[in-house]
């Protein structure tokens, strides 16, 4: 989220938290069908951009409306960094959206402060079970909070290690054997930096390149057995030994000259320009990287590195679909639209035309859906393979979730790039942030 967006969100939270519906979703079953014309408002961040995201989304909306003439979907583009602020402002203004594409880190806040409806509370159990059949269990878990499904994973991706095979060859390395763990990342990066003029490695785990988001950091901590907070989401744990151990590894990379505190934009630009050998970031960048590498170097992708012989535990970036309407007819219309967006056809468009992962993994082998496309786009394979190990990007709870996130991310940056004691830095931040958790306030 941008600095202005964060500031606005804080103001909004303070001003309107009490106005915004704080009650849980209504336990009210929706009608079985939509038998009269209804219009639903859909806040979507892909529509706020120009290009494949918007084109793919418009196509999804158009196909759905053609098949469901009673339902009109009014797609409104809202930048992802402003999504929660805008929903809050519009809920306060009495004109909140019926369905929204919410970034996962704000899911708890949207679920508990904006009156989002849990699917189990409004959709008949058998219908829900029928729709969930065939979906990735790990993928479904991404939108579950306190045992209820508040979001269905919509556009989501995992961390992928993109690498420049030409630079590997130039440094005398085998591009068919990319690094599998962080020790190999360090060794490979140092070799490349020694033998070529290129930067060995960059990522958005921590520092400026993280842009305030912790999904990639959570992947690294989980891969080393750590967590940002306890499973009951009451106690922060990002300074505990396993998490701190992962951060110390990042500090070692920095001390060895492998990891710099560079911006997200410059990392992507350097990778695109052929100036960086390895780039660990969201698979959503795949299309931009392919376009940048075209005619210049061979771009390849590998799974996220783990620790030692243990495979990585990736989390997801991206968004889920959340129903915010309390009108039963609009809830039904929104659910019908959600079902289409997360159907085999929906994920086929999302994967092939926007560039995200399918939550229905069986369609990648189905010639009616993605089989041919996957054959032509091998870079998606590491991404698909990681789905089996996917863990949710856990959102911090309560209305202070952004302050908690910022406190943690600032401490992480300080611990990795600041030169101080890692344990002490993380412990101080953890104590400070714990006071902002809901059970402490």
């Amino acid at each position: 989220m941008s600095a202005i967006g964060k500031k606005l969100a804080r103001i909004l939270v303070g001003t309107f938290a009490s106005v915004a519906v704080a009650a849980p979703g209504f336990a009210q079953t929706i009608p079985a069908t939509v038998d009269k014309p209804v219009t639903i408002t859909f806040y979507n961040y892909n529509l706020a951009s120009a290009g494949i995201g918007a084109d793919g989304t418009k196509k999804l909306i158009a196909e759905f409306m053609a098949a469901n003439p009673m339902i009109k979907v009014d797609g409104v583009g809202v930048p992802s960094t402003e999504m929660n602020s805008r929903i809050l402002a519009d809920v306060a203004a009495g004109r909140g959206p019926d369905l929204a594409q919410v970034v996962f880190d704000g899911l708890d806040f949207v679920a508990n402060n904006m009156g989002a409806s849990a699917l189990e509370d409004i959709v008949p159990a058998d219908e829900l079970a029928e729709h969930f059949n065939g979906m990735s269990k790990n993928g479904l878990e991404l939108g579950v909070l306190d045992g209820k499904t508040y979001a269905l994973a919509y556009t989501f991706s995992t961390p992928v290690l993109f690498y420049n095979a030409d630079l590997f060859r130039k440094a005398g390395l085998d591009p068919d054997s990319p690094p599998k763990n962080w020790a190999e990342i360090k060794e490979t990066a140092l070799t490349i930096q020694d033998k070529t003029d290129a930067k060995g490695f960059s990522t958005g785990v921590v520092g400026a390149a993280a842009s305030g988001f912790d999904w990639l950091l959570q992947s690294v901590l989980l891969s080393n057995g750590g967590r940002v907070m306890s499973e009951d989401r009451k106690t922060l744990t990002f300074a505990e030994p396993a998490a701190a151990g992962a951060v110390k590894m990042l500090r070692e990379l920095h001390d060895a000259g492998v990891l710099e505190n560079s911006s997200s934009g410059s990392n992507l630009e350097s990778m695109n320009a052929g100036g960086t050998a390895m780039f660990l970031n969201t698979s959503a960048y795949q299309r931009a990287l392919i376009a940048g590498a075209e005619g210049k170097y061979e771009l390849r992708a590998a799974p996220m590195p783990g620790f030692g012989d243990t495979l990585a535990t990736p989390t997801n970036s991206g968004s889920g679909l959340v129903i915010l309407s309390h009108d039963p007819l609009k809830q039904r219309a929104a659910w019908e639209f959600m079902k289409f967006l997360t159907s085999k056809r929906g994920y086929t468009i999302i994967t092939s035309e926007i560039g995200y992962l399918p939550l229905r993994t069986d369609i990648v082998n189905d010639p009616a859906y993605l089989k041919d496309w996957v054959a032509e786009h091998p870079l998606i394979q590491p991404n698909l393979a990681q789905l089996e190990r996917l863990q949710p990007w856990t959102p911090f709870p309560g209305s202070n979730y952004r302050q908690i996130l910022k406190t943690m991310m600032d401490a992480m940056e300080q611990a990795v790039f600041g030169g101080g004691d890692v344990d002490a830095t993380l412990k101080a931040a953890q104590d400070q942030a714990q006071a902002l958790m809901p059970n402490n306030t």
């Binding site: 290009g51 995201g53 402002a89 934009g265 931009a288 005619g295």
Partner: protein
């Protein structure tokens, strides 16, 4: 003696010549420095134009001119977002805000400069204080008001909260207070009322500062981003700054089209600078650096 008389003028002439040479050298060095600084200032604009002509896989090349310059990015940008509509919207909003702020500013400033009334200093101070309030603080109440008026996603909503500007009122008040009292007295003796004095005596004589203020208001409204971002719901009803931002996506930034859209967006402002160069510089000097 002769030698002395001859040598003295030569010596003076030599000194003068050396002085002239030194002055010339200093002037050349000064100009060279200014040329370098000008190039430094112009380079980002040049780089924006050059980048808008590069192909996607050469967008980060460092060559001063692309091998194969193309207008593809412009074609794509024009097809991806309604740029002309957005430019028109931006022009309408900027022109309307400029006109309205000048009108309210002149009227309010005339009141403060011409008459003493109860609590006038207090009211003036309150207006000054509003200048110090960050836009984020008033944005949400304004948003709720606009939403309740049913004006979301419309150009009037972009204009409405900018009807009055503390900066314009204060700048014009100071200028009107400095206006020669004798001229006002002469107008009064000629039978001119307050209204006529304002529009036929004061405003024509303050056209320099009013023009400067108009340029500043126009440019700052043209560059406004956050309020339109909060208010707009469709590409057709928004301004060009939001359009430019649309090329920054979750899937990476489309630099080529973004630079093409930025080049088109900066054209009107560039035109103002070229045509009204002297007034623009004066406006910044009169108002302080903004």
């Amino acid at each position: 003696m002769t030698t002395e008389t001859l040598s003295l003028p030569m010596s003076t002439s030599g000194l003068q010549s050396r002085k002239k040479r030194r002055q010339a050298n200093l002037a050349i060095a000064g100009h060279a420095l200014m040329i370098v600084m000008s190039l430094f200032a112009v380079f980002p604009v040049y780089w924006m134009l050059v980048s808008s002509l590069r192909a996607e896989n050469h967008i980060f090349d460092t060559a001063l001119w692309p091998d194969a310059a193309s207008l593809d990015n412009y074609a794509y940008a024009l097809s991806a977002i309604p740029i002309w509509r957005m430019l028109w919207n931006t022009l309408v909003v900027s022109a309307a805000v400029t006109f309205i702020q000048l009108l309210t500013g002149i009227a309010a400033a005339y009141g403060f400069a011409r008459w003493r009334f109860r609590f006038d200093k207090f009211v003036y101070a309150l207006i000054g204080l509003t200048w110090l309030v960050p836009i984020q603080v008033v944005m949400i109440p304004n948003y709720l008001l606009v939403a309740r008026m049913g004006l979301l996603d419309s150009l009037p909503a972009l204009i409405l909260p900018h009807f009055a500007s503390a900066f314009a009122i204060m700048l014009l008040t100071q200028s009107m207070r400095a206006f020669p009292k004798e001229v006002l007295e002469a107008a009064r003796m000629d039978g001119a009322g307050s209204w006529r004095t304002l529009w036929e005596v004061i405003v024509p004589n303050l056209r320099g500062i009013i023009a400067s203020l108009a340029i500043l208001i126009f440019i700052s409204t043209w560059n406004e981003y956050f309020w339109p971002l909060l208010l707009s719901r469709s590409a057709e009803n928004t301004v060009i700054q939001i359009g430019i931002q649309m090329f920054i996506t979750q899937e990476g930034t489309s630099w080529g089209p973004l630079m093409a859209a930025s080049s088109l967006a900066s054209l009107p402002i560039l035109l103002i600078y070229v045509v009204l160069q002297r007034q623009v510089i004066q406006s910044f000097m009169k108002s302080g650096i903004r």
